[in-house]
Structure formats: structure tokens, C-alpha cells
Amino acid sequence: MNEHVREDRLHDYVDDLLCREERIEVELHLNGCEQCRSEVAALRDLVSSLHGVPESIEPSSDLLAGIHARLDEMAEPIHSPAVRTLSGRTLHSMRGPLAAAAVLLVALSAILTATIVRRPAPDADTRTTSNRSTDSNVGSIRLAGSQHDAVEKQYRDATSELEAQLAAQREFLSAETVQLVEENLRVIDTALSEARTALQDDPGNPMLSDLVRSAYEQKLDLLRNATAVRGDT
């Protein structure tokens, strides 16, 4: 080899990143090239210096007070390292309202499902009247069966996406946060399951449709909050 060894190859040689054949090729060249030998020696010297820098450097000021101040800001009545900021709140602070909302949803779902399912099935004409009456009570958009299916598919897709995101972030969340999220997801899923079962028996029932949608909204909200935790920490 008459030409000098390429610079990047010399670096790889010094870093021991060449395969056996490449290493031998470089060494054969080095035997007869003072310039490349000198380059390798200088590189090794530099790398050796860098390997030897102190692992520890003490900061010139005490940073502990600032860390304490930040930890105090994060502190919650239930003290734990697992507390996480969530847009000015924490999952701890959400525990009560979230659980209450979920339980309320389950209770409402159970009562409404039982009431609605026990009600005699209306014929086509009376169902229209009944729907209109319910619309005015609930005040939300009513969906026909096919529309409901399409919307529910959107909800399912959105929740699946967020659930996958949450699963990917799980290792970064504290065990307590994971437990809290899972508990609430279970409650919401129970409500969702009951409402969906009832809706299958009575597909045109707008109140059951609302219950399903409400459960999905709550699930989405929880998942959005939980996945946002990772971004804040």
C-alpha cells in the first residue's frame, strides 16, 4: 500500500473498530510509513488523555438548595417520589375526581342500562318520538346505527393508539402511576362493556349510544393525561 491510510480508517484503527483483515492491512502500511505512524501515535495520545479526564467535577456552588426548592414545589400530601407534574396538577391530585367520575359512570351505566333494557321496545313510530324526547333531555347529537358504528370505530382506533403509546412509555412511569391509570381504565372499561352490551340488545337506543360515547370520552381523556405525563418528566 503506497498511499497513506485514510484518516477515518486510522481513527477506527485506534478505536479498535476494524476487522482483522483491515487491521492487518493498516499495520502493514504503518510499518513502512512514518507519517501515518506519527498520526496514529498522536491520536492515541489524545484518546488516552480523554480516557483519563476526571470522572468527577464538583460544581462551584451548592445546587442542593435549588433541587430542594423544586422538590418542594412538586410535593403532595401523599409524599412519594412518584409524584409527577401534569399541567399544574398531578395524577395524585386527579385520583379522587377521576375515580369518582369513573365510578359514577359505572353506576349511571348500570342504572340506565337496567332501566332502558326493562322498558318495552317501542315500535318504529314511537321510537322516533322517544328519540326526540330524549334528545331534548340529554342535549347531545344523536347518531343512527351506522353512524354510531363509524364513530365507535374512531373511538376504538383513538383509544388503541393511545393505549399503544402508553404501553411504550410504561417503563418511564412510576409503578404507582401505572397502577392508578390501570385501575381507572378497568372501571371505565367495565362501564363501557355494560353500555355496549345493552346497546347491542337495543341498537337504536340513543341513551345507550350516549353512554358508550361518554365512556370512550372518559377513557380517551385518561389516556391522553397518562401519555402526557411522560412528556412532562
Binding site: I57, P59, I67
Partner: protein, 195 residues
């Protein structure tokens, strides 16, 4: 100010100061995991030098290094529960610190092109540990003056011992880019130290 020529034969010997990572007793880690602030303070005292060194070298200035060191310890407190003890606590904290610095860089981009921005020489001196003098300071100062990307790769590979593949993954770049940055950093360092 670019440092004067350093006789390289003596440099390695001068830089072998406190190369040993501190050993943190498991009992202190467990107490801190249980929420004991005093134990956490003890962890801080054991590990702050190593955390600060990583932040200082990667950030390139003392002010950023102090902020990032605080960020790292706050995150350590938040995530302490996830430390399972499979690795040494200092290794866990070290990786967490590297992630904090890289995430900060990605989210803010505030310290871009540090080589042109170091107008205040005190930024370096304020972070210089007392026992580190002469050639060691010159090397540290030269590292701080490297362009950001090159400095990151050089610190992670040559100082912290990460593989090029790990660095590529952490920085979201190709291994070829990591190599190019590393070689550029070394070339610039040699120029600065031999000038």
C-alpha cells in the same frame, strides 16, 4: 483564549484525578426510594461530582451544567422508584443524566454552536474544580470550545465510553454521522491543544 501547546506525554498522568466512580450504599438508595429526603441528599453528595462532570462537558459551560445537574437530580427523585438495582446506582444516574442533557438540547437548542458563543471566559472558570489545573484545564477548555454536535459525540465516546451505535441511537443520527463528528472533534481538539 485558545490554550497554548500542551506536552502530550505528561497530560494523561495529570488528568487521572478522581477517576473512580463513587460507590453509593444500597441502604441509602432504598431509603431514598422510600421518600427519605435526607437519604436523597446523601445520594446527591455521593454522585453530584459525576453528574456535574457529564453535564459540564456535554453542555460546554458551567451555568448550563448547574441547571442540568439540578434537572437530573429532580428527575432522579421522580424516577427513583423505577431503579431496580440491576445496575449500580451511579450507572443508572449517569444514563439518566445523559438523557436529560440530550432531551434538553433537543427541546431548547439554546446552546447551539457554543464554540462561537463563549464570550465570557468566566463561564468555564466558574465550573473548574480546585484540583484541576494546567493542562487538565486546557483540555477541558478545548472540549468546551468544540461545536456542540462534535463535543457531544466526543464526550460520550472518548470520555464516557459509550459505543458509536449507542450514541447514534441516543442522538437519533446514523453511525456514520457519529464517526464523522468524532473524527472532526478529535481533529479540532488536536489543533487547539497544539496551537
Amino acid at each position: 483564549m485558545v490554550p497554548e501547546t500542551i506536552p502530550t506525554s505528561d497530560r494523561a498522568a495529570l488528568l487521572t484525578i478522581s477517576r473512580q466512580a463513587p460507590v453509593v450504599p444500597q441502604e441509602i438508595v432504598r431509603r431514598a426510594q422510600a421518600g427519605d429526603r435526607e437519604a436523597f441528599d446523601e445520594l446527591y453528595r455521593c454522585a453530584v461530582g459525576r453528574v456535574y462532570a457529564v453535564c459540564f462537558r456535554m453542555a460546554g459551560d458551567a451555568q448550563s451544567a448547574e441547571r442540568l445537574t439540578q434537572d437530573a437530580f429532580v428527575r432522579a427523585w421522580v424516577r427513583l422508584e423505577s431503579f431496580r438495582g440491576e445496575s449500580a446506582f451511579t450507572s443508572w444516574l449517569h444514563r439518566l443524566t445523559v438523557n436529560v442533557v440530550l432531551e434538553d438540547r433537543r427541546s431548547t437548542g439554546r446552546r447551539e454552536m457554543r464554540v462561537e458563543n463563549v464570550e465570557d471566559p468566566g463561564l468555564y472558570e466558574r465550573g473548574t474544580p480546585a484540583p484541576m489545573v494546567g493542562e487538565a484545564v486546557d483540555l477541558e477548555r478545548a472540549i468546551a470550545r468544540l461545536p456542540r454536535g462534535a463535543r457531544t459525540v466526543l464526550v460520550l465516546f472518548d470520555v464516557e465510553g459509550y459505543s458509536q451505535e449507542e450514541i447514534a441511537r441516543l442522538t437519533g443520527t446514523a453511525v456514520g454521522t457519529v464517526k464523522a463528528q468524532l473524527h472532526r472533534a478529535r481533529k479540532l481538539l488536536r489543533e487547539m491543544l497544539n496551537r
